[in-house]
Symmetry: C2
């Protein structure tokens, strides 16, 4: 039976424009392709889980408007359980515009009305105990903290997607999680260390209760477990669209952990899922199937122990 993951956080209608080059300053820039897709950190991770054969329930918040209905419909059609989504009257749903250039680089302009996340739904320990793992992002921090705490009480993996956010938000979540996967910019916002290995080690010492991992895109992922620092090289691919690559990593990692895999194997599944996603234009829609990820795992270099 497929493992059940609860994903908490971002749900937004993205308009993705494909352009030759990212803009600089005033003017008009003509995209040659456009898609609209409901996604966001937790939503895209949920979709990665579904594509890899897991089951994903999303807790996010939308406004009581056309965009909100479209977000929920789109995610439900993608196979994500959206029955517990919050609908807030009087707040506009989140939307963002993303420009992706011919090198796969992206410019993101996200807009979230703060009213979407003022209140939180009731979370019971029984509800959380019905899942095999929880994965939260930084977007709905108040709810994410409750869910992480409930997951710890229930003894299931409490995983944090540590992306860029105000430091007090990021710290308040990282102190509770028992698995933290930081993006490079978020990791750099918390420490002074410059070398990748030092950065990871410093963060791991700061959050001793957790497995701490930092993803560096094509430079791979570094993680620390106990006193050992590991490096997993990335699968080398031609990047077309790096949007939602981090979310692919987090979703795959969470599913692997829920399935009982060890950290090294979970990081490996995260790595190939993220790399394969980058080869397809269209944000989260490029998530690979499990059979594709398994095949790519055979090409993935082994991880190595860097320290001690």
């Amino acid at each position: 039976m497929s493992k059940r993951i609860l994903c908490v956080g971002a749900a937004v209608l993205d308009t993705i424009f494909r352009v030759r080059a990212l803009p600089s300053g005033e003017g008009k820039i003509l995209p040659y392709e456009m898609v609209q897709v409901a996604e966001g950190m937790a939503s895209s991770a949920a979709y990665a889980i579904v594509r890899l054969g897991g089951s994903a329930t999303l807790l996010g918040s939308v406004g009581d408007d056309d965009t909100g209905r479209r977000i929920c419909d789109d995610l439900a059609q993608a196979g994500i359980d959206t029955s517990a989504m919050s609908v807030v009257a009087g707040a506009p749903s989140a939307l963002s515009t993303i420009l992706v250039d011919d090198r796969g680089d992206r410019l993101i302009v996200p807009f979230y009305d703060t009213r979407l996340h003022h209140t939180i739904p009731q979370i019971s320990d029984e509800m959380i105990a019905g899942f095999d793992a929880v994965l939260v992002d930084v977007r709905w921090a108040k709810l994410a903290r409750e869910v992480l705490r409930a997951a710890r009480r229930a003894g299931i993996p409490a995983i944090l997607d540590g992306d860029v956010a105000p430091s007090e938000t990021l710290l308040s979540l990282a102190e509770i999680a028992d698995h933290i996967i930081f993006s490079e910019p978020a990791a750099r916002s918390l420490t002074e260390a410059r070398a990748q290995a030092d950065l990871v080690q410093e963060l791991a010492e700061r959050f001793p209760q957790a497995m701490v991992c930092v993803t560096f895109g094509p430079a791979g992922a570094f993680w620390m477990e106990g006193t050992q620092l590991h490096h997993q090289p990335a699968l080398q691919v031609r990047a077309v669209d790096t949007l939602a690559a981090g979310d692919a990593f987090h979703g795959a990692y969470a599913l692997a952990v829920a399935e009982g895999l060890g950290t090294a194997d979970a990081v490996r599944l995260g790595s190939v899922t993220a790399a394969l996603k980058c080869t397809v234009f269209g944000g989260r829609t490029g998530m690979p199937l499990r059979i594709e990820a398994d095949k790519a795992l055979q090409q993935l270099p082994s991880s190595s122990v860097l320290r001690p």
Copy 2:
């Protein structure tokens, strides 16, 4: 009774993000305000006409989708007659993202599917003769040419919003119109002349059948009638959002001409309408009422004859 203007061309759902500064390259940029509004060159001009007390009918094309219904609803609620809009099955409606910075400068990312404008609706001379003027933009050039020709046959003003477009498109429209208002970038795309006065004079000689005007934002408008070159200084305002300022000018000019005003007075109404629009954030929604435009006209410097 209010004058009736037929506006032909762009109809798009704009998402306008207000940002501190326009982006440069990759990353994430956080807007502090967001609005969505149906607009576009002809649509925004139509709204200027309505706000100034005229009557505007819009001929534009949308897809058979949620965005298309939203565009038509939004424009109809704004008081524009949208009963003749075309709906194309299987094509996505046009949408664009606009970033406006704290200086009022803007970056536009428009997306139009070419299928929206493949075919054109039937235009009869009787239909066109029911209007007091027509105003066309460059977006649906095939239809714009038919409408300009019919307006010339009907003896009503045939006005072109000469904005940036492939030169053959722009030229094919400019050759038919009897009033042409070029934006500065479009005017510069057609001539080598550098000084503003030379630019206008050269274009006027190229389109001898038409009143030719070029708008230069805060540097005012230059136009040529017969052998006289005129300059109308702009009203000096603190610009908050220059989006749709050109459209404000075109709509006001068209209404004034339909009302029987001379070119100088029509340019004056266009100038103040554009300037007032720039003082309000939110694209076309900032169009002034006639009473506001009339008041501003009293502050507007007189025009002067530059040549001969």
